[in-house]
């Protein structure tokens, strides 16, 4: 019930947003929201903390940008190319990372992502510190020019909804249930006969792919693939977004991404203080607000429900 209401709100807000706010900014929010949802699939449902998701987000942006700019791919094919790249490195990184558990998993993903970061910095086609600039938006199906902000916006919104839908379906499937079983108690899931490693790998690859979809789309929107997107700080930001919104909730990452990205945007003029503020939010959320916004609402509703049932029974 609550999910349906929230979905309706999200749909309406998404449809009218470009008329209320600067469309490019909303597109940025949507890309981050999809990125956070992808990340949440892994941490919130499978319990795996990847500290290297910027590699998929930022790396895919470079590949998509290159495909669009140099190979002259049409927009959707360019995005798919970037996404396919994230899928492939997702397989490799996932295969390596699931060999270690818990905190080691986080360190391994972080270190692997650093390889992609240095590649983005050093490879000849990436533009080094300046990033890959001048990516053309092109025309959708050869008909609609994406230089029109509204056309571009609704394409991004459609991509977001598709990604969101895929993640939603995954989480609410038998596969998603097994993931949660692994998160709750890995040895038990193993003893029930589930091939735990295969499930983890699948979740990792799917999460990486969706993060790549978000990154590729962002490159198309901004016509620019930036080194920042591939930096570990971006990996940290997506963790924060997911935590703020609510780990393991469907809409939490969306809300968290909107909150954190808006905050970063608004505070842009404060320079390095933004980092201090994000860090402080991180500390506060971890110490006292681990359920996140949506998680707290869920908790509140559950408690009221429980109180009512026990009152009925009296």
């Amino acid at each position: 019930m609550m999910n349906k209401v929230l979905f309706a709100i999200m749909l309406i807000a998404g449809l009218i947003a470009p008329f209320l706010a600067y469309p490019v900014f909303v597109m940025d929010l949507l890309c981050f929201a999809l990125f956070a949802c992808a990340f949440n699939l892994l941490l919130g449902y499978a319990g795996l903390l990847s500290f290297g998701h910027a590699a998929f987000f930022g790396g895919a942006a470079y590949i998509a940008g290159h495909a669009l700019k140099v190979w002259g791919f049409p927009p959707l094919l360019g995005i798919l190319t970037g996404t396919a790249f994230a899928f492939l490195i997702g397989i490799v990184f996932g295969f390596l990372a699931i060999r270690r558990q818990g905190i080691y998993f986080a360190m391994v993903t972080l270190a692997l992502a650093q390889i992609i970061y240095f590649l983005c910095l050093q490879l000849p086609f990436t533009g080094g510190e300046n990033g890959l600039q001048g990516i053309p938006r092109g025309e959708l199906f050869g008909l609609f020019s994406l230089d029109n902000e509204l056309t571009m916006y609704y394409l991004v919104f459609a991509i977001f909804l598709i990604g969101f839908g895929i993640i939603y379906r995954t989480v609410h499937s038998p596969f998603g249930e097994v993931l949660q079983a692994i998160r709750e108690n890995e040895p038990r899931a193993l003893s029930l006969g589930y091939d735990v490693d295969r499930f983890k790998l699948l979740a990792f690859v799917l999460s990486a792919t969706m993060a790549g979809l978000a990154g590729s789309t962002k490159a198309l929107v901004f016509q620019f693939a930036s080194l920042t997107s591939a930096h570990w700080q971006t990996s940290g930001e997506v963790v924060l977004m997911t935590l703020v919104g609510g780990l393991g909730t469907v809409f939490g990452p969306v809300l968290g991404a909107v909150t954190v990205a808006t905050l970063t945007h608004e505070l842009g003029s404060f320079g390095s203080w933004v980092q201090v503020i994000l860090g402080t939010i991180f500390v506060i959320v971890v110490l006292v607000f681990r359920r996140g916004i949506i998680g707290e609402i869920h908790h509140f509703v559950e408690q009221r429900k429980a109180a009512r049932t026990s009152a009925d029974n009296d």
Binding site: L49, Y104, A106, L119, S272, G279, V286, L287
Partner: protein, 296 residues
């Protein structure tokens, strides 16, 4: 040949920093089971304590005092260690019963705060540390080659600190108590040892090691708010390669990987940034628990 030995020594120089940082991480991990993401920021903080003590005390605080390099070698670990103790007592303690990833996330937040604070007041591209003592300037004649005296001092000093730490943990009464705390905290506490205090002091000690490494690095690299940021990720890879089971393992892996990085600079410079990460991949493929780690 000259070039190779020179790079080997320079690599060893980097290696002692890896060793000191991964040693601190391993000591903290042993007792607290968390990975201190802020370790790089604490290293940076150590370097800044040295820089501020030398150049900014008068200008900022109106104290006409200059803390020289030798003074910083004592001051910085104390300051950083104290900060570590405060962080452990006020924040990490509350997360003790939760999933260990929350400790990582908390220290990540602290990293952002520390980096952001210093980036407000100092140039991100770095400030040189002017306080290198006269005795350590110049070059040393090693017979077969010349090598900067200060770097040689940094290598020897760090090695002494690393091996002293190893000796204390593996071969003294204090160390045996610590190891008991790692093995079984409840039982150790039942024997009348103050485990929470041990945990706090251990975290402080690990932080102090990072601060000390920062002071030693200050005269070599320029002091920058971001100096610990990329370093800490390399140190994470070092820790994954070595496995955190053994103190000696952490030291040796750090030294060896510094050497490998130095050699890569000679033979294939573009890969110098990433060679350690690729080695980590190999280790994950063939010995997932790490070179010195135990299979769980």
């Amino acid at each position: 040949m000259q070039l190779i030995t020179a790079q080997a020594l320079l690599g060893l120089n980097v290696g002692v920093f890896y060793a000191m940082l991964s040693l601190g991480l391993a000591v903290i991990f042993g007792l607290l089971n968390i990975i201190n993401f802020a370790h790089g920021a604490m290293y940076m903080l150590g370097a800044f304590v040295a820089l501020i003590g030398y150049s900014y005390l008068e200008q900022w605080f109106g104290i006409s005092l200059q803390i020289g390099f030798w003074g910083s070698l004592i001051m910085a670990p104390l300051v950083v260690g104290l900060l570590g103790i405060i962080i452990e007592r006020t924040m990490l303690k509350r997360l003790a019963n939760l999933d260990h990833i929350y400790g990582l996330l908390l220290t990540f937040g602290i990293t952002l705060i520390l980096q952001g604070l210093f980036a407000n007041y100092f140039n991100v591209s770095g400030t040189p540390y002017p306080g290198q003592p006269e005795v350590l300037s110049g070059v040393l004649n090693l017979g077969f080659m010349y090598f900067p005296t200060y770097r040689m001092f940094a290598i020897v000093f760090s090695l002494v600190v690393c091996f002293a730490t190893w000796y204390v943990i593996e071969h003294t009464r204090l160390g045996s108590r610590l190891r008991a705390g790692v093995e079984n905290p409840q039982l150790t506490q039942a024997f009348g040892l103050n485990v929470p205090l041990m945990v706090t002091l251990t975290f402080g000690f690990g932080a102090a090691l990072a601060g000390l490494a920062g002071v030693l690095a200050a005269p070599i690299y320029s002091v920058s708010p971001l100096m610990g940021a990329d370093l800490i990720i390399v140190v994470f890879a070092v820790v994954v390669i070595g496995g955190m089971g053994s103190i000696m393992g952490a030291i040796l892996t750090g030294l060896a990987l510094g050497l490998v990085e130095g050699m890569t600079k000679v033979f294939y410079p573009p890969a110098a940034n990433t060679v350690i990460f690729f080695l980590m991949v190999l280790v994950l493929l063939f010995r997932p628990a790490g070179l010195f780690g135990k299979e769980q």
